[in-house]
């Protein structure tokens, strides 16, 4: 049975779309028959990437967030892209506890959680041009 599939999403960077976007990706991933734990990990990682685009990429403005998700064999690949302010120092941004956001609301653990819950996390960013985060997870490994 061929399971290859893909979706594209485009939505304004409103925080009310955080829930919608992670559920959409989880629904696609569920076609690969993942465990509940794997679904929760995917939802959490997507939520972190989308929240970063909303809070950091577009800061106080509303822009468009672009998500693609595809399954090839048993592998899920998700990209979350914004055309926001970009990240000046990606290595610094990926450090645990580092945040440029409001310390009462943001914990600085977004990238750490993405890295821990997904197999691979790639970040491409152009200051002033935007950021693209690619998340990969192999779903034939049952935990």
């Amino acid at each position: 049975m061929k399971t290859d599939n893909s979706i594209k999403l485009e939505f304004p960077s409103k925080s009310s779309n955080e829930g919608f976007s992670r559920v959409a990706i989880a629904a696609l991933a569920s076609q690969l028959d993942p465990t509940l734990e794997q679904i929760n990990e995917i939802k959490t990682a997507v939520s972190e990437a989308v929240t970063n685009a909303i809070v950091h990429g577009y800061k106080d403005s509303i822009g468009t967030i672009y998500i693609t998700a595809k399954i090839r064999g048993k592998k899920l690949t998700v990209t979350v892209r914004d055309k926001g302010c970009g990240i000046a120092d990606i290595e610094q941004a990926r450090q645990p506890m580092f945040t440029t956001g409001n310390e009462n609301e943001r914990s600085g653990m977004g990238f750490t959680i993405m890295e821990s819950f997904m197999d691979r996390v790639r970040v491409k960013s152009v200051p002033g041009g935007g950021t693209k985060v690619t998340l990969e997870k192999q779903l034939d490994i049952k935990q």
């Binding site: 959490t44 929240t51 909303i54 609301e105 977004g110």
Partner: protein, 107 residues
């Protein structure tokens, strides 16, 4: 996401219900803080048993409430947490800041 409050003796139980993300965290924190300041309990229990989703915003909720509790001299505990929400808090070191407890007297 909503928070249900129960006061018994001088303990405030905050039962978190639903999804904790960046969208829901702000109003959640405001409602908990308002209640905490008005009740001034000796102990506060943050009960995660009915959390259906959580990302790193849950960590910010814990750290911020711990700060307020420290300021007001309130003992704070996290109760009934398991699965990946617990994993998120432990990987962030929140278990060194706040004690996790099992607690069966939730209802």
């Amino acid at each position: 996401m909503s928070a249900q409050f129960k006061i018994e003796n001088s303990t405030l139980r905050v039962l978190l219900c639903g999804e904790i993300d960046h969208h829901t965290a702000r109003s959640l924190c405001e409602s908990i803080d308002l209640k905490t300041v008005s009740v001034k309990p000796q102990t506060m229990l943050l009960d995660f048993s009915r959390v259906s989703f959580m990302d790193s915003s849950g960590l910010a909720v814990v750290v911020g409430r711990k700060r307020l509790c420290d300021k007001l001299g309130i003992q704070m505990y996290i109760v009934n947490i398991s699965g990946y929400p617990e994993k998120i808090l432990r990987m962030s070191g929140a278990d060194k800041l706040v004690e996790f407890k099992e607690d069966k007297n939730e209802n």
